[in-house]
Symmetry: C2
Subunit: 188 residues, 2 copies
Amino acid sequence: MTREVAERHDAIAAVAEVFREHGYAGSSLTAITQQTGLGKGSLYHFFPNGKQEMAEAVLEDVSAWFEENVFLALRDSEAPARGIEQMFEAVDRYFRSGERICLLGAFALGDSREPFERVIHRYFSSWTEALAEALLRTGFTAPKAAEMAEEVVVGIQGALVLARSRQDPQVFTRTLQRLRRRIPTIQS
Amino acid sequence: MTREVAERHDAIAAVAEVFREHGYAGSSLTAITQQTGLGKGSLYHFFPNGKQEMAEAVLEDVSAWFEENVFLALRDSEAPARGIEQMFEAVDRYFRSGERICLLGAFALGDSREPFERVIHRYFSSWTEALAEALLRTGFTAPKAAEMAEEVVVGIQGALVLARSRQDPQVFTRTLQRLRRRIPTIQS
DNA sequence: TATATACTGTACCTATTGGTACACATAAGG
DNA sequence: CCTTATGTGTACCAATAGGTACAGTATATA
């Protein structure tokens, strides 16, 4: 791993926080510059296509994190129930028990989503499909598995909206618990 | 009803569509001007405090619509089950069966939400509380009613996120059906 | 019809926007 | 030590941002 890659990744993480706070259109280069500590020179060195490339990189990075830490476990054909349990744990960790929002969801609702439609679409499709597959393998019928998968992803996203709106992260943890309970095979 | 009020309300509705499409920061005055057909003169006549007042007016307008068409029916102590059924119908109509997003939810996740925190908070609190009250009156225990109310509002918001993300409005109608089924007293 | 009030178009302002150019620093490899 | 790569700070740019000023046009009411 060369030095460049490592630092570009640090830049991505820093820029992500700015987008999380201000949205895409709301994140001016000045804001990005100040909150990341990176000058324009560095920023345009890592992201030659400017702001849009920054956003693409950030969304790809989040997607990759979920691919690796969530979807992969769900696709593990050996232990579907354990994969689902791992998903709930990773999701709770990632969203800091409701204190963080989902950048993909925010971009989907927000300004100028067109350039990012594909990444957003893929993220939610992968998630729902991987979860449905896992549920299928735990013994649910295909339609029931698909319905439950959609219910879980919908619930997580909705809970993030409500947690932020009501400034009450507990909405998120409560919802996660409720969704967990709805899947009998993983009741602990 | 004087002419002024009527036209200001038309302006609000037109501006709302722009915010729905581009978000707050993403809606430039030029974009608002062009998409609404209103010149800066008119815009600043109706909203002397500029863009922020436009957004406040829009959010207040949406809130008022829900207050009148949704929360009011829920608070009707005569027929709680019918009030809940009316809520589902109004919600389905308002969000155009999943083709429209919730501006309050979008602003909650999006850029510069601070100035609008109060309206957003009130909207979701009113909704959840009115629904919980109605469920209580249909015979559920208080904790069960509160849980179900949260589940419904969370589900609606999450479904809007997913419907937009996957460009599939059916996610919304399916979710609405599923939530309806979960409330035994209104099963049709 | 006179007049006050509601509404609108245009010209203009300054600050900030995203983006570029480029000299410079830094460090590793030969 | 020289060269090549990667990384960075600064000055600069045209375009656009949100906002203001104000003269002008409708319109309602008396």
